[in-house]
Amino acid sequence: MNITLQLFGRFREFADGPELRLELPGVTTAAEFRAAFEAWARTHWPDAATALLQASAIATETTLLHARSPLPADGRLALLPPVSGG
C-alpha cells in the first residue's frame, strides 16, 4: 500500500520534510503498518527515533487507530509522539 505519513513534534527532526511517502506491500491494518514502519525506521532513523516510535500513536485526521483498525483507503496517516499541549 502507498502510505503518506505526516510527522509531528520531535519526529520532524528525523526527516527532511513534514511527511514521508512509503510503499509498504501487504499492509492493511494499523498493527501491520506499525511493524513495517518500525522495520523501515531501524534502517533509516537513529535509535532515539525508533524508541520514540514505541510511545507514539498512529492516526487519521479524525481519530486514533487501534491495532486492528483498517488503514484508510487514501493511505494518509499521521505519526503522533507523546503530546504536550496546553
Binding site: R10, E61, L64, L65, S69, L80, P82, S84
Partner: protein, 163 residues
C-alpha cells in the same frame, strides 16, 4: 438558549502569526442569559520550565485531529456537568513568546460548580488527548521537545473499528 449542542461548542486553532488568543472571544461565546457562572482557564507561556529560563515555545499541531479532539472534549464535559452548558476551546500554534497565550478554555452553566468542573475537565482533555507538541526555546539558544504523554486510542469496544 435552546441551541443544539453542537451550536453551544466552539473550537479554534489560531496561528500566532495571524492573531493572539482572545479571552473576550471565549467569554462572549459562552455567555447566555440563562447562565450565572462562567469559568475561564488561560494557559500562558512562562519564563521557567524544567528549571531553565525559557524565551518562548513553539507549538506544533495536527490541526484537523486537534479540532476533533477539542470537540469531543467539549461534548464530554457538557455531557458530564450540564447538558445545557456552552464550551469554548482555543489553542495557539506557531512560535509563542513568554507571556503569549497558549490556550483558552471557557465553560458556562446556570451554576458555578458545573462551570468550574466543566472547564477543568476540558483543559485536562486538551493537555492529555490533543495532538499538540511543545518545543521549548531556552535563553542559551538550545531547544527541547517536551517529554509529553503518550496518546492512547479510546477503548476499542467503544469504536466502530474495534474487535
Amino acid at each position: 438558549m435552546n441551541l443544539a449542542r453542537e451550536e453551544r461548542i466552539a473550537c479554534r486553532v489560531v496561528d500566532i502569526a495571524d492573531a493572539p488568543l482572545d479571552p473576550l472571544d471565549a467569554i462572549a461565546f459562552v455567555s447566555d442569559d440563562a447562565f450565572g457562572g462562567i469559568d475561564v482557564f488561560i494557559g500562558r507561556v512562562r519564563t521557567r520550565s524544567l528549571g531553565r529560563q525559557c524565551v518562548g515555545i513553539h507549538y506544533d499541531m495536527f490541526d484537523p485531529l486537534a479540532l476533533a479532539v477539542f470537540r469531543r472534549a467539549a461534548e464530554a464535559s457538557i455531557e458530564a456537568h450540564d447538558p445545557q452548558a456552552r464550551c469554548y476551546i482555543a489553542h495557539a500554534k506557531g512560535k509563542l513568546a513568554v507571556g503569549d497565550l497558549a490556550v483558552v478554555v471557557a465553560f458556562a452553566s446556570a451554576h458555578r460548580d458545573a462551570a468550574f468542573r466543566g472547564c477543568r475537565q476540558a483543559i485536562e482533555a486538551v493537555k492529555y488527548q490533543a495532538p499538540i507538541w511543545k518545543q521549548e526555546h531556552f535563553t542559551d539558544g538550545s531547544t527541547a521537545w517536551s517529554e509529553g504523554t503518550p496518546l492512547v486510542a479510546a477503548d476499542a469496544g467503544a469504536g466502530a473499528d474495534g474487535a
